[in-house]
Amino acid sequence: MRDVYVTYQDVERPALKRASLSIGEGKLVVVTGPNGSGKTTLLETCLGLLKPFKGMARLLGVPTTSRDVRKARKSCSYLPQNFMKGPHESYTVKHVIAMGLLSLKGSLTHDDMHKIKMVARLLEIENLLNKPIGRLSGGQQQRAFLARTLVREPLVLFLDEPFSSIDPEGRERITSLIDYYTRERSATTVMVSHVVNEGLKRVADAVITLSSGELVSVVGTTC
């Protein structure tokens, strides 16, 4: 993205201003900053869910304002910050993970089912596959959504606070898993995290700090 400004409706102050950033293939970049600093806005602008009113953002080389961005998104995965589903939500964990694949194609093959089970095993939710997602705890739901992002085998992973509901032990394991995925597949991972612990610092190629919608520092290499 180059010189990007993003504002929300009826809010005068831009949520993101003068943001210029380029993230290369195979990089794991952590975006941090205080509440309201524009971390989620940056992530959603990269994905084209928010359109800049000034400047230009590209996803996999495609301008996010173009219609083709939808095709580019098929090569990406997104873990939203507000993922929690209420107790009425009856889709099973297996169905939720499968939705990640079904948004790419019409039906699931035997291999796809195997992939779903494998990724669920990696995230330690294999025994929850047939449970309704709404009946699970926040941490279990977050693991299910993370499984949905990984099962798509994306080129770019956008993760918004992926550890917000996960216990410290789980954080270490999932950090290693995301790091392994990024390196093994030469994927790009952009991860928003309120807190950057030692584990994250160790695996990140760059840590970007935002404050009041502005990029205030970039430590490491993003390209």
């Binding site: 580019a72 998104r73 995965s77 009425h88 009856s90 939705m99």
Partner: protein, 272 residues
């Protein structure tokens, strides 16, 4: 003739219930409401002009449905709801003016009567063929895109982030619903046809929280209760639309009452 009425109402009830399920799940209820009244206005104007009962209603309802569907991602839900309700009032006024212009004597004719409270005489072989074809087209659409609709229903923002075209699918569902409304409008009546859109969904939600089962229950409910209402209206010599709407609503309430009673009984036994 009775077989044709029952078959048309079964298929019409089924497609209205299925589209109603997705309309409700996708949060498009107010758009559907105003689109249905646009169809009513189109039907009323076509009765004044003496034109065929399909073209103008389809033109009105599809234009409005598409305009609102295209505007959908750009507007907030509050703006969208208010805009839809404004359109509802506008098209309602047009419908009533057209009915008024068609003079008092005409009010008793089948055509205008059909617009207001429905008429079994509106069912023809042509209409039955159109309803069946529309149902077939919707089934094909579901066969290919149900998984995408499920993803949108589950989490719109996430589905959008995964590259699903939410707008296209919303417009597709609105289009199917508008066409079903146009075909069923003069059978069930302009002010009552929504009962077949929303009540089966409400009944299904009462029974289960599982979306796939809800879809099946809503479809079955629409397909069974609409012809049942028609048969009751023939037996009791009451207006077909009102009888169908009453039957649908009373059965939905009965399902709710049974569900609550069973739940209470079970919790009472647990406490014991």
């Amino acid at each position: 003739m009775i077989e044709l009425i029952c078959a048309s109402l079964a298929i019409g009830g089924l497609i209205l219930a299925l589209t109603g399920h997705y309309i409700s799940k996708l949060g498009l209820s107010t758009i559907a409401f105003s689109a249905a009244h646009a169809a009513l206005a189109g039907a009323a104007i076509s009765s004044v002009l003496g034109s065929d009962p399909y073209t103008l209603p389809a033109l009105f309802t599809l234009s409005l449905g598409l305009v609102l569907g295209v505007a959908l991602p750009k507007a907030s839900s509050e703006v969208m709801n208010n805009l839809s309700m404004m359109m509802f009032s506008l098209f309602n006024s047009l419908a009533l003016i057209a009915i008024y212009l068609s003079n008092v004597v005409v009010l008793s004719t089948t055509r205008v009567g059909g617009l207001l409270w429905g008429s079994p005489l509106a069912i023809t072989v042509d209409r039955f063929a159109c309803i069946t074809a529309l149902f077939g087209a919707f089934l094909v659409y579901l066969m290919f895109f149900k998984s995408k609709l499920d993803a949108i229903v589950f989490d719109k923002r996430l589905a959008e982030a995964e590259g699903i075209n939410i707008q296209a699918h919303s417009i597709a569902v609105i289009t199917f619903m508008c066409m079903a409304l146009v075909l069923m409008l003069e059978v069930v009546g302009g002010f009552l046809v929504f009962s077949l859109l929303y009540v089966p969904y409400i009944a299904s939600v009462t029974v289960t929280s599982r979306a796939d089962v809800q879809l099946m229950i809503a479809g079955l409910f629409g397909a069974i209760v609409a012809p049942l209402g028609a048969n009751l209206s023939l037996a009791l010599d009451t207006p077909i639309g009102s009888t169908i709407a009453l039957t649908v609503s009373l059965l939905a309430m009965a399902i709710y009452a049974v569900k609550r009673s069973v739940e209470r009984l079970l919790s009472f036994r647990k406490v014991k």
